[in-house]
Symmetry: C2
């Protein structure tokens, strides 16, 4: 496509999305659920079509030398399609937050003010290789009355086109506006730049992918963005702790699934525990296959540890590696997390409630933990039923984002002729 065509194509998509969003905002939960039900039927009956297109992406991926991990994330086998269908089934059962009255009051002049949950409007989702995001993100937005413009990675373009076609067919069958879900069908990078300028039609951008993608989106967007760059999660093992519990929480946070944003990256240990707990946890970590990058004190008690550099304190390894540092006290731990952390998920392991309270108040992260694994920062684990992402922003949504976080509100003021004096 030529540059001017891309510009017009994106503009038209955004205008269509805005029109669809207005129609969606007046639709009942039943109507929206009917479309989700139609999606289930189409996904289930059109597996051949999905997998035929997915095969093209996989072949292109092999030719272009994608890593085995990337190829795996790209693959839409039957189990992955089943998982999408299962998520849609669960989504149908979740409560629709739209229309809820958040608060209501009457002013002395007799007018009544109601604060009502409404959809956000048009949401742009910019994501990388995993094609299941197409279905997951679009369906969560639809349930909450939002129209979506999806922009996936070029690696999964054929899969995404097939899935988007299915979603639109389901919308048509359920008599919902077809343009409530649109996929940007060009892989040209210019398309993203154009999209990010359309704050007149698009209300929110959610980027999902690597840090460089998210930084580009945040830098270029004139539309509000909800995001997290990375998760450099910490646990601080205080001098007063239950060692058995602490070992279990640290190992779970680090090794249960090291490649995700809520996995532990840096362990801080009170210096009084050098010869006891620190020694013990290092052995346990190494036994679990974790490489240790330690400060001097750690390297002294754990000969297998590699000496940490300044970069290690900033690192999001997403791997079986951990940075370990001794600190003087809880304030020192808080200062380290403030300097090197990413304000995602950080916790304290202590039996002293006063120390815990100091930490929980002062650490400025989306989720702070006391004697709990950092791996719980997740919409499902929080009981939200579904998750569109995790935010480390302070505005609108912070931490795991479920259906309520995909809504805004409006004020409805009713009266009988009130005028301002």
């Amino acid at each position: 496509m030529e540059s001017s065509s891309i510009k017009n194509y994106i503009l038209d998509s955004a205008k269509n999305a805005r029109q669809s969003a207005l129609a969606l905002s007046c639709m009942s939960t039943e109507e929206k659920n009917r479309a989700l039900q139609a999606m289930i039927i189409h996904l289930n009956s059109r597996r051949t079509e999905i997998q035929r297109e997915n095969k093209i992406d996989l072949e292109n991926g092999r030719i272009n030398g994608l890593s085995a991990a990337m190829i795996d994330r790209l693959t839409l086998n039957d189990a992955r399609i089943d998982a999408m269908i299962q998520s849609l089934k669960e989504l149908i059962l979740l409560k629709d937050p739209v229309g809820t009255c958040l608060s209501e009051w009457t002013r002395p002049n007799g007018m009544t003010i109601k604060k009502i949950r409404v959809p956000i409007g048009v949401i742009g989702i910019i994501y990388e290789s995993r094609p299941n995001v197409t279905v997951d993100a679009a369906s969560l937005c639809l349930k909450t009355g939002n129209a979506t413009i999806l922009r996936g990675g070029k690696e999964s373009i054929h899969s995404n086109r097939a899935l988007a076609k299915i979603l639109q067919d389901a919308l048509i069958e359920a008599e919902l506006p077809k343009n409530a879900i649109q996929l940007i069908s060009t892989t040209d990078r210019q398309a993203v730049g154009e999209l990010l300028q359309l704050n007149e039609y698009i209300d929110l951008i959610i980027p999902r992918g690597g840090e460089s993608l998210i930084r580009r989106v945040a830098r270029e967007s004139t539309i509000p963005v909800i995001k997290h760059y990375k998760g450099v999660c910490h646990l601080y093992a205080d001098k007063e702790l239950n060692p058995k519990q602490a070992v279990s929480v640290i190992l779970n946070s680090k090794v249960q699934r090291p490649g995700v944003c809520n996995a532990l990256e840096t362990l801080l240990v009170h210096e009084s525990l050098k010869e006891t707990f620190l020694k013990e946890i290092c052995i346990k970590l190494i036994e679990s296959g974790v490489e240790i990058r330690g400060d001097d004190a750690t390297c002294r008690v754990c000969p297998q540890a590699i000496s940490a550099t300044e970069d290690d304190w900033f690192a999001e390894y997403l791997d079986m590696i951990i940075a370990v540092k001794t600190v003087k006290n809880v304030k020192d731990a808080i200062a380290h997390i403030e300097k090197y952390g990413s304000r995602h998920s950080d916790g304290i392991l202590t039996t002293n409630q006063t120390t815990a309270n100091i930490f929980l108040q002062a650490v400025d992260s989306a989720v702070v933990y006391h004697n709990v694994s950092t791996r719980f920062t997740d919409g499902g684990q929080f009981g939200m039923g579904a998750e569109i992402g995790v935010s480390t922003d302070k505005l609108h949504a912070r931490g795991p984002m479920g259906l309520e976080e995909l809504t805004s509100y409006k004020y409805i003021v009713t009266g009988n002729g009130q005028i301002r004096e």
Copy 2:
């Protein structure tokens, strides 16, 4: 200042603000109120100092040919200083939202999740000529535990420096971090550009001023921005209405204070009322000194009306001018507001509840009114006690923003060793 000095100066200010914000987030309501009390005392006793600096701005303003209205907004007479003091007194009495538990639940594994209100962190306020914003914005942010970086207009730089000095002296006296309130003391435009890139230290930007300032900020900022560009507010007079009430609400919305964002700009009238209500309201508007820009039907029944152009439907006059148009029905009115409106404040005048409900649901504005003047879109009128601004964004805060809208939340998860399966 040289370009590199400005860059370093802004970076240092932002880092200092971040440190102060962390300290503020742990402070009690009493400590914050003590600082507000000290501000009252300093403002009251240092009027000579404020007015001496203000006089320099006023003289420069006259030399630079500022309009009488601009000069008026710039003037810090005793009444204006009294008004600042009064706002501070009221602010001390308002409830501090920080620390409120928004919700709390326990998961099946026994861990407890609490959602707690916390300050947003560092807030940048970018504003134009009125120097009272310096005190109003900084004090509202302080009450909610936020640090502020203030960037006022060059016209009010001497006044702002004097006020910021007073606010910092009050912070020092109350033993709060001095850098919790900082004024950018250079008027170089580069400073704003630098500020808007510091998303690592600044959590929110609130621009207050004309549309072009706000558009520049939204375009350049990598930090979330809460704003409204303008208020093109509508009232729709439905075929079924109480004419006396409707006249009163329309006149109040238009003439009570035409220069503000919640004043009425366009009146839509059901076409069946051409010869009756439309004629009557046009006479009343003209009697009140309002100029009418009408569609053909309006010009036919009101000879004094000027024929409206397409631009009139988009216009935010902020003046004694109104655009008047006839529409076929409520859907036509909704479509007009969607096309030309600014999603700020729009209302319907009708005795038919069904018609009202269609309008209130479909119109996508921050505040929608039924038989009430649009002039109530205001934190004070909503009963919030104080207002930092009005937002037409969908994210975080929509409509009037009071103290609660200056907070974020964090999740505190406590348990006894919960790990993820």
